[in-house]
Symmetry: C2
Subunit: 80 residues, 2 copies
Amino acid sequence: MTEIEIRVGLKPGMADPEGANVQKALRLLGFDSVGAVASARCYRVTLELPETEALAEAERMCRHLLANPVVHDYSITVAE
Amino acid sequence: MTEIEIRVGLKPGMADPEGANVQKALRLLGFDSVGAVASARCYRVTLELPETEALAEAERMCRHLLANPVVHDYSITVAE
């Protein structure tokens, strides 16, 4: 059994209204050191597979369902 | 300048309809080894601070804005 963390973010240059709003809100709250904020969706998926196969399966999940290659970048890691 | 990754997930036992729907969709697509799926929001925040101070500032951001302590767990890491 392997726990995989999949992070689906936006490609550089794609509009990210959630990130922009978080940035604005943080600055209004006085967090003056805040620069860019980028939002992403993360999925923690438990797979009944050993690590190597789980990583390959997660890659297929991203290609088939979780990420849209036109707008999304994704990364896959084994969760600690 | 430090890039911080903030992950805001749901506390155990909180309803996670997005995670449940992703799980259902993956199984319908034939990913039979999928067990639990938990969704989370992630924020990549750039801070004009050295690493230690940036981590402390991110902790404050979570407490003041990004996470609701009633329903959310969060984790903060320095992004690679």
